[in-house]
């Protein structure tokens, strides 16, 4: 300590706030006045958005179904076991959504499929998020030649249509659920690089970053404690919206026969398998299709709601 702390003046007369607590009580102060996190205020904003709430409710139901599915249904007997005698039955009391061409109960499969579709969507986006945000944030923060190279790379990546990119990647890696996730992830990395970079660029020039530098916060710590948390909003919005499109992309790949391998009840594969029966047995595609639609819709509603809630433009 170079300076004596006691040099600090005691409360001045000019203080405009009444200091009501004595120093002995001070120890408790930070706990007495509960902090409300910024997420709480986002939640307050979000709560006003009925669409987002509807989306949230739907999504919670879908996640609930996904979590409950393995408890309610046995994978080996209810989900993948063939029952040829009961195939292609229309919806009934026994089979709420009917049965598919292998005689499997579509309701059970749709429920179970939520696990796959959500997992594919979420993992693919996580993949894109981790890579995109790392490189994008680094590009925005470091700048210079590195940024230049990253952005060129990003341009190149995004000039190849994402479906084709995903198909190429699946072909390269082989068909499996994990590879599907990676393929969809790779194809949606570029937007994350862009968003993260833009967010970091915006934040990087804020005065509080300079302030942190002025109080000698090490650079890495500035990135971790100041830049990243403040760049998160657009990234979170982007991620929410991308999960939806990742689910659609996965379904598209399944349609082209490059999706989750059978007999796993992924919605896209179900849609793809059922599409040949669409004329007479449309329930086979109707329910997985609706499931995809509702899930993507709910994610988009939430994403749009989050965007509105996080967007400073819409406040005040």
């Amino acid at each position: 300590m170079e300076k004596d702390l006691k040099k600090m003046p005691t409360p001045a007369a000019s203080s405009t706030e009444s200091a009501s607590l004595s120093t002995t009580q001070a120890r408790l102060v930070s706990k007495t006045f509960k902090k409300r996190s910024t997420w709480a205020s986002v939640w307050r904003q979000l709560r006003k958005n009925k669409g987002a709430i509807a989306g949230l409710v739907l999504l919670i139901i879908i996640i609930g179904v996904a979590l409950a599915a393995p408890i309610i249904f046995d994978y080996n007997t209810d989900i993948i076991q063939n029952n040829i005698r009961e195939r292609r039955q229309p919806p009934s009391a026994d089979h709420w959504f009917g049965t598919d061409e292998m005689g499997r109960d579509i309701f059970a499969r749709v429920c179970y499929g939520a696990r796959y579709s959500l997992a594919v969507g979420v993992v693919a986006v996580l993949f894109a998020l981790v890579f995109g945000v790392t490189f994008g944030a680094a590009a925005g923060y470091i700048g210079g030649a590195f940024e230049n190279i990253m952005m060129r790379l990003c341009d190149i990546l995004s000039s190849i249509p994402s479906v084709l990119m995903a198909i190429a990647v699946v072909s390269a890696l082989g068909k499996s659920t994990l590879n599907l996730m990676i393929a969809v992830g790779v194809a949606s990395t570029a937007p994350f690089i862009r968003v993260a970079r833009a967010a970091v660029l915006t934040v990087r020039n804020e005065e509080y970053i300079e302030a942190a530098r002025a109080i000698a916060v090490p650079e890495w710590k500035i990135v971790v404690t100041h830049i990243l948390p403040n760049s998160l909003s657009p990234i979170i919005v982007q991620a929410t919206l991308r999960v939806g499109s990742a689910i659609i992309s996965a379904a598209q790949l399944s349609f082209l026969g490059l999706g989750v391998p059978a007999p796993a009840p992924e919605w896209g594969s179900m849609l793809s398998a059922g599409r040949i029966f669409i004329r007479d047995h449309s329930y086979m595609t109707l329910f997985p299709g609706l499931a995809i639609m509702v899930t993507v819709l709910s994610l988009n509603l939430i994403g749009d709601g989050l965007r509105d809630a996080l967007d400073p433009r819409l406040k005040s």
Partner: protein, 319 residues
């Protein structure tokens, strides 16, 4: 401005080389030796080797890449392993279809999204906003191949209004694919329009316009929309680029012989020259589209125009 354009076009060269390399690398990593798509199932080892050399599949990836690039510089995109046709020629046969579909899809998307987006923004947080956005989102949430099948069932089979496949029936053939494609795109553009309009309707200059006595209708149509166009054009550009190569599923469902299908089939057959060539061409188109979009910006927004004029070329836009 012309300097800007020339420099942007020059930048195409490294981009195309990189795209070619990426595709080369990916296709090389792919399971399944491309040579098998060419030889018969019971070919002997020697035959396979002979075919390999004939196809130019010998040597390391790098050697092959440089061989390919050597041809690319001369405008030769190689010959398809499978059909033995010139890739450029094959691509050019598909391109008009793709362009037609892309253009029609964008028209559908624009017709849907601009009014919806404006209605949503001008009536923010009202019922009309909610309905517009949900409509837009529905288009996005429906897997488009499914929508395509449903449209075929209804409009081709039941009602017989439009053909279900092919492209020879002029406007009638393009309507269903364009709707299928366009509704998905419309979602993004409605969103962009809405958020861009929301940005603009809060701007001070609209207040200036109102204070001058400009009617509300004209304030939105003339003063606001023109300013809102920039982000809309960006999204338009991105979407257009995407449909230039990426409407594989719609092309499949409607038997629309476009570029996307060409690439997918070629990927399946490990037809590396076709995949690489078509994607290089697509990249070029996309880049040129982006350039055109940038030029359109300049006409919509004079600020950007003077930026181009002042700076000439800048590697990347920092904002």
């Amino acid at each position: 401005m012309s300097r800007y354009i020339v420099e942007r076009l020059l930048m195409l060269i490294p981009v195309l080389l990189s795209v070619a390399f990426i595709i080369f690398a990916i296709m090389n990593a792919a399971e399944g030796d491309p040579v098998y798509s060419v030889v018969s199932a019971d070919a002997t080892q020697e035959q396979i080797e002979a075919a390999r050399i004939e196809l130019g599949l010998d040597g390391t990836l790098i050697q092959r890449y440089f061989r390919y690039v050597g041809g690319m510089i001369k405008g030769d995109l190689g010959t398809s392993y499978v059909s033995k046709r010139d890739v450029m020629q094959t691509y050019m046969m598909r391109l008009p279809n793709t362009l037609k579909l892309a253009a029609a899809s964008m028209v559908v998307a624009l017709v849907i999204s601009i009014p919806l987006g404006i209605i949503a923004a001008v009536n923010q947080n009202s019922i009309r906003d909610a309905v517009s956005m949900v409509l837009a989102l529905l288009g996005l949430s429906m897997p488009n191949f499914w929508l395509g099948l449903l449209l075929i069932l209804l409009f081709s089979l039941r009602l017989g209004w439009f053909p279900s496949a092919g492209y020879e029936d002029g406007l009638r053939s393009i309507i269903l694919p364009a709707i299928t494609n366009g509704t998905g795109l419309a979602a993004f553009m409605t969103r962009a329009t809405r958020s861009s309009m929301l940005d603009v309707v809060r701007q001070d200059f609209l207040r200036t316009a109102r204070a001058k006595g400009v009617t509300e209708r004209k304030v939105i149509r003339k003063h606001a929309l023109r300013n809102a166009l920039i982000p809309i054009i960006t999204v338009f550009g991105v979407q257009f680029s995407n449909v230039l190569g990426g409407s594989v599923l719609v092309e499949t469902v409607f038997a629309w012989p476009g570029v996307g299908r060409l690439v997918v089939d070629a990927i399946e057959q490990r037809d590396i020259p076709t995949v690489t060539g078509a994607l290089v061409m697509t990249t070029m188109l996309v880049t040129i589209t982006n350039l055109l979009i940038d030029i359109v910006y300049a006409y919509v927004d004079p600020r950007i125009k003077s930026q181009y004029a002042k700076k000439g070329f800048k590697l990347w836009k920092r904002t």
